[in-house]
Structures are given as C-alpha cells and as structure tokens.
Symmetry: C2
C-alpha cells in the first residue's frame, strides 16, 4: 500500500531551479516535434490523466508542460461536477467520447478517478460498488493499452502546508482570486479523507503505475511532467509513414 505521506513533495536535490527552467524550454521544443511524429505515425493514442488535490497545479501543468504541441493533435477535457444529465448515466458515459483514437493525445484534467475518490470521501457508495469501480478502471486501462491507446497517469503531489498557502494566495492576489472557491476550503478540511482515498486508488489502479510528481515547486512539476512525457514518446520509435 502506497502512503503518500512518506513521499517527498519537494524537488530532488540533483536539479536546480535554473536547470529545471532551461530544461523545460528544451523539452517543449522536443514535444512539438514528437507530437507531430506521433500524429503522423498513427499507431498509438495517448491518454494523459492529471489528478491531484485542489490547488495542486493541474491547470498550470497543462499551460506550461503540455501547451507547446499542435492543438490539432492534442485535446484537453476537464471533468467538473457531473451535470444532472450525466448523473442519469453510469460514470463512464461522460468519459468515453473523449477516449482518444490512434494518433491523438488527450489530456484529462481530473478524470474517472473522481468517481472513485469523491464517493469514498463522501461515503456515498457501498464498499462493493467502490471495489467494483476500482477493478473496472483497472480493466479499462489494460483494455486501452491492448488497443494501442497508452495511459500516462500523473498525481501532482503537494503538501498540506503548500495547499494552505495556495488557497491564501488565491484570496490575496487579484489575478488568482477568480480561481478561489468555497469548495477549496472545504476540500482542505477533508485533506485526510482525500489522502486515504488517493492512497487506495494509486495502490490498486497501478497498471500502468502512477507517476507521483513532487509538486510543491511549480518549476519542478512542470519540468518533470514534460520530461516523462518526452521519454514516453521517444520510447516508441515513432516514424513518419513511408520513411
């Protein structure tokens, strides 16, 4: 069982802020080229899942690490609180139209994992249903891999103290204030329950494994996500057709 409390939220000591910032500039250039090749190659699809506590930096990661690529081949879908129509459906219904085809990169800002985490925190579903959701998600992700749709899962890992600071920051800085909502404060109060839910989800839905990104420092978070994505794309020997 993974215990997030034992994993550092700080950058490793072998990289400086300056190196991370320069590295990101370079990685963004590489990603621009790699994504083009990925699209042309057309053998694989890629689903990137961003999860993390409130204020952990999902939006910032998309803006800084995933925005250098051609938007024709990259789509972002944010999953908010389900609408009334969505609640009449099973939880995968609103997700499935956004599962990418081969050639495309799809980013999920939050995902079907919320349908596991939220009911755990709210205690609104039986153990049986939660256990089944967990297994279904495992099967789904394996199914995608078998269909040549790869899944990269990132957990943006911040400390409780950092979250507190970021909520304060949203209140005090005019250009961040619009992001503040009462829900943020409520989520902060439920820190322990969310933490337990994430420990469970990360432990049990581990194929593919999660990348746990130390995210207290934004520069490292951005660098790290871009770095892992670049590595992933390079691994597959992508080719332009007929070359």
């Amino acid at each position: 069982m993974i215990d997030l409390d034992t994993i550092s939220t700080q950058p490793p000591s072998n990289i400086s802020k300056n190196e991370g910032k320069k590295g990101l500039v370079q990685l963004r250039k590489e990603l621009f080229e790699l994504q083009n090749k990925f699209y042309a190659d057309g053998r694989f699809g890629l689903l990137i899942i961003l999860q993390g506590m409130d204020t952990s930096g999902k939006d910032g990661t998309i803006r800084h690490s995933l925005s250098s690529m051609n938007p024709q081949g990259v789509q972002v879908k944010s999953f908010k609180k389900p609408t009334e129509e969505e609640l009449k459906h099973d939880f995968l219904w609103r997700v499935y139209p956004h599962i990418p085809p081969k050639g495309m990169i799809q980013v999920f800002n939050r995902s079907y994992y919320e349908d596991l985490l939220m009911p755990m925190v709210a205690n609104s579903l039986s153990e049986e249903v939660l256990a089944h959701r967990c297994k279904l998600i495992k099967y789904l992700e394996q199914h995608l891999r078998l269909s040549n749709i790869h899944v990269l899962k990132f957990f943006l890992h911040i400390s409780k103290e950092e979250q507190k600071e970021r909520i304060q920051e949203r209140l005090s800085k005019p250009h961040k204030r619009w992001k503040y909502s009462i829900a943020d404060e409520k989520a902060a109060k439920q820190w322990d329950a969310y933490r337990a839910a994430y420990n469970m989800a990360i432990t049990n839905c581990d194929d593919p494994s999660w990348y746990i990104i130390p995210a207290d420092k934004r520069w490292y978070r951005n660098y790290s996500v871009a770095n892992i994505l670049t590595d992933h794309l390079k691994k597959h020997n992508l080719k332009y057709p007929n070359t």
Copy 2:
C-alpha cells in the same frame, strides 16, 4: 461450457402457434404501459442486446416484439462493420455514447459482442487480447447493473438448416431480396467457427445470463422475447413518481 448444439431451436411443446400469436398481441399492450411507467419511474435504465447468427431474426424481433413502445423512451442502435474512424478507436468507443441513462430502454442490434466473436472467427487477435475483452465485457455489464442500468441479452438460436432456408428465401422472394448479401453466404460457410465463438461468449460472459431463444419459428421467437421483457419490467415494482 454451453453447447448450443444441444439446445433446441424449436418452440417448446406447451404452446401452440395460435397461443403465441395471441399472447404477443397482449404482451405488446402490456409493454406499451410498462415502458411508460419505466420512463416515469426513472430509477433504472435497460440495455437489450440482440445477437444471433445471420438471418436469425434480429430485425424481425425489433419490429414485432419491441415496436409497441413509445419511441421517445426506446432507442435502437445497429452496429455494422466498424468505419475507418471507429477502427482508430478502441472497440468500446463507438458503443458507449449509446449506453442508456436511467429511464431509457436501448436496443442493440448486434453489439460489442461482435468485437469478441468476429476476431475469434477471423483469428485476427491474440488469445491474450480476446481473453481480456471477454473479462472487460463481464466487468462492464456488472458495472452497468451496479449503476442501475440493467442488461438483457438475447441469443436468437436458429439451426443451420433454417439459416440455409432463409438465405434461399432472401434470394427468391422479391420483398426479402434486398436483405441478401454475399456476406450471408460467407457466414453460412463459417457456421462452425461462429458456433464455437458463441459457445465461448455465452459461457464466459454470463452475468447476467443469456436468454437463448429458440428461433426457428418466428412466432415463438417474437412471443418469447416480448414475454421475457415484460417479466423483467414487472419485477421492479415500477411506480409513477409521487403515487
């Protein structure tokens, strides 16, 4: 392991053609009322899956057994050979938008089971992928039940001789000729391979169990499907809200 060869394709002896035809008229009236209540009740959704060899009568079943209900609450989706766009996606992608919400009845004329049966017959996917698809389908159907979307699966069971006659009929009768296609003859040649694939799918994806409908006689097939559907809807103590 189910062996379809050991199961009769003929009506049971305790019902005559006349009783079956009269029974269907009555059942269609009941279904008209029950579906309205089902829609108003809104606690459950229903997915009806029709599978069977070519010429087994899927279209006819929809026309005779499932057409007395309000089309506002009943939808039919036919799954044909996947398009080029659909083939870029995993096999569930084209299915999922048609998974019904609560209150609705959705009929699948063929279904995701084709993505298990066809590759088995064509020998186009590895054992590993086929076994995984089989398990994923099991999990998916359980997931739907846990989400209050019930699944009723009908296998329309005809004999090889009956199929041969029906293909001949399509060729000889002007009003049936449009339904004939070369694919029918090819499918007839692959009878044994399809039979083995169905034995596997029906045995392994058995939660909920399949209804194996003796379908050599159209009157019995229509009566039987309508009868099972009526029973299913009655079981759930459907209510108009606030009554």
